[in-house]
Symmetry: C2
Subunit: 491 residues, 2 copies
């Protein structure tokens, strides 16, 4: 595999697209804006799913499944919600095709028009709260802690693999609570779950905070989020958790009887992460030679490549390789032994490097003589020779080390690219020429936020949780400010 | 929970609906024909998914994900395929809503009409084979062994929870092969996987066979299937595996270069099971007191209920119960300890009986004195007293025993309800009054099959694999026949 794609420096966007496609993660489909997630990419997503699913269950949640379609009228019930989603809805209007009578092939059967149009869910608050009305009568029915793994559709005009697609896969948690405090706590707990997953599994450090009114989810009282910094200096929102107040309970008339016998509206949260995380994973760690994967999410953690000149050598090497594979697998390590005779070792080296396999073990005739193997790590490209007898221990240690190194590297990058800024000139200069997170004072108005966005494309990514309160002047208007917030250009 | 629903004898259909809804498996949604799968029902489906997914991976398959939408024109490419699915398609025609200018609320934005309508996938052969064209150049790219877990939509007019819904969840395997033999082998291998899953996990015995032309999948050369017998004497198709020949490769122009350098069309299979299996599971084992679940798929395998008069008793019982729970969980058994003080033991007994929990352990003050517990099994309702010291061993044995008993019971039922029939009068009598599988000679024509269906509603469920060849006369026409086939009314 020759180097046939730009470096990050040359063309970050092309670099990203090339890795996503050529590392067999995903590709565009024949349907505008919809992607195909290929087996190698899907295997990473499955590991994300399994890990998150366990974290959700460990925090008391169960999975369920709600309809793909939402009656159009449901959307109108919550005013902000419809405002937020109406412009990007796939609408089902008919339920039958037929042979055209004039021989023009298959056409929509106009006699099979739906009385009420159905929207392909862009998110499921409305259909779920319509359902919860029947599930909730008394405080004894609360809390409801439900999650759904599903596909959703938002008709985006400009799409990019994983980062922004018309259809994407995600999970959406929808919980119902008796009190405001409990719902707010739930929203923050799930934010912590997301942050823990991003940092411990994806090796992606994230900031935790709350969105401004401008960036809030359509229908939420508060939107909490985690934001990560990509290698081009742009921020990526990696997960959101919404405190919905009683908005959807009121829109769908969901009340419960309290212990004291009173009727009250139910409190709600919703929270989600999507296949967008795949985009974050690719961009956070990969380099100019291709994908770099954190070991915990890599479908193949170790690849073993034999180096041989004839079949006898291959047979001898295979004996050792298969034993090492078995020994590693016994420790729960995911190993591939690639003994295909259709490709040369050099080709295989490039291939697995490009696909981000964390550890490569090469075994040649000399190694057989010495009882050694050559071990290369993907993140730093370092190679070392180890004794075969010691290999399991070394590889276990190495995988942990790579996981940690990727995280540390990303933290350093973020630290180098987080800047405190106090003047409008400096603000524009940093956003335009350096990127990264910018900590600046803001006067707290949407108007100022909009103007800054119009002039620089930077938005307020979040107001950090437990943010330090300090007097200052808004970087744009000079009006009084009580705290610094995080600005960045973003995906 | 009082007995407020009909017996199987009184009204089988109502009995089924009641269990599906009231055991918290599923319910109808606000969207016509679409169901909500509730957490308890979804937990069963998750176990099915996890088990099947492992079986697919153990037979060499990987998961991937393809678009929800299919361009209308794709359907027309394979003539039988469009014929089979055109009449039940949800069609997306627009991609935006807007506020009505005359104040009538939210309406479809007519200016956002799609150039080509999109079909919500009823199955994915077309979009997948359009994708495979780019994945396959050479024999080296084959086989492709891919599976997808997804939702699909078929606009059924008459729907029933799990058995027939407009949207359902399923998996669809789509494989590509260099030779006819390999593809046929794959189709039969996956049929075996389905049969093994049905029998070993669901405890549902199935017949394996091939469909007649009438009942074949739209676009298949051969459709293999597994068929199970429900307690009302009707058959249920529980899984299908299709040998598609080169039909889709030709429709989507998917060719490969053979080892010898020739260009040939690729051979294909597809295979699927769906949430319909939940319907089969409910109907196969449940009784007039509610759901009965095979232990291997039960979300809760053992429930422990304390019987107490005061808090001190509860505390003492809880100590024992929590220890037993921990001991059982150490062996991988799924246990719930229900110490809620909002419900009485009798209510809990009925509740878990109705929800099909295989084993119930009750612990009262007398048990504490004697070091015993009372163990009840759901399938036979038998109760026994065991020593606490012996409980893990006894429960493990009991769960195996229940799993086996459910299977054996279903096999006996099927044997009692499989009848060899040689005259048309007898055929009509058995189909009308007894149900079950009917083994009868058939002259091999679609015409006869259609007439039998019109007169009796019975169809040929399958021609058994490796069917015994024996001369005879068609039960309907009297024409010569070479084998008996399986007739039944079906879901």
């Amino acid at each position: 595999m020759s180097k046939d794609f730009p470096t990050r420096e040359e063309n970050y966007s092309e670099w990203y697209n090339h890795i996503a496609r050529k590392a067999d993660l995903a590709e565009n489909s024949a349907v505008r804006g919809c992607m195909v997630i290929k087996p190698y990419g899907f295997a990473i997503w499955e590991k994300m799913q399994a890990t998150l699913d366990k974290m959700f269950k460990d925090t008391g949640h169960s999975n369920a499944y709600f309809p793909l379609f939402i009656p159009k009228s449901f959307f109108s019930r919550e005013a902000n919600h419809v405002e937020g989603f109406a412009k990007e809805c796939a609408v089902v209007t008919h339920y039958r095709l037929k042979n055209d009578e004039e021989g023009k092939g298959i056409v929509v059967d106009e006699s099979a028009k739906l009385e009420e149009e159905l929207i392909v869910r862009p998110t499921s608050e409305t259909i779920i709260w319509d359902t919860y009305r029947n599930w909730i009568q008394s405080y004894r029915d609360l809390p409801i802690l439900v999650n759904q793994w599903a596909n959703v559709v938002r008709w985006e005009m400009r799409t990019r693999l994983f980062l922004r697609t018309a259809e994407f896969l995600w999970q959406e948690g929808h919980t119902a609570h008796a009190t405001q405090e409990e719902a707010e706590q739930e929203a923050r707990t799930m934010l912590d779950v997301y942050a823990q997953f991003a940092e411990e599994w994806m090796a992606v450090p994230v900031l935790k905070g709350v969105k401004t009114a401008n960036e809030r989810f359509a229908g939420a009282v508060d939107t909490y989020c985690i934001e990560a910094l990509m290698q081009d200096g742009k921020a990526l929102q990696a997960g959101t958790s919404h405190f919905l107040g009683q908005n959807f309970a009121k829109a769908f008339d969901v009340k419960f009887t309290t212990k004291e016998g009173k009727q009250e509206h139910v409190w709600a949260t919703s929270w989600g992460v999507s296949t967008r995380l795949m985009g974050a994973l690719i961009m956070a760690h990969s380099d100019d030679d291709g994908l770099v994967l954190p070991p915990k999410l890599a479908p193949i953690q170790v690849v073993i490549v034999p180096i041989y000149k004839n079949e006898e050598q291959l047979n001898n090497i295979s004996e050792v390789a298969i034993q090492i594979k078995a020994d590693l697998e016994k420790e729960g390590i995911r190993v591939k032994y690639d003994d295909r005779d259709t490709h040369k070792p050099g080709w295989k080296f490039s291939e697995y490097e490009f696909k981000g396999v964390p550890v490569r073990i090469a075994i040649g005739p000399r190694d057989l003589e010495n009882g050694t193997v050559e071990v290369a790590r993907r993140d730093t490209k370092e190679k070392q020779t180890y004794q075969q007898t010691d290999i399991v221990h070394k590889v276990e240690h190495l995988l942990e080390n790579i996981q940690k190194n990727l995280y540390d590297r990303a933290v350093s990058y973020r630290e180098e690219n987080t800047r405190q800024v106090d003047s409008w000139e400096e603000f524009k200069d940093v956003i335009e020429n350096k990127g990264g997170f910018v900590l600046a004072h803001w006067d707290g108005t949407s108007e100022t936020e909009n103007k800054i966005k119009a002039e620089t494309k930077a938005t307020i990514r979040l107001i950090p949780l437990n943010n330090k309160q300090e007097g200052g002047k808004c970087v744009y208007t000079g009006n009084p400010s009580t705290q610094r917030v995080i600005f960045a250009k973003s995906y």
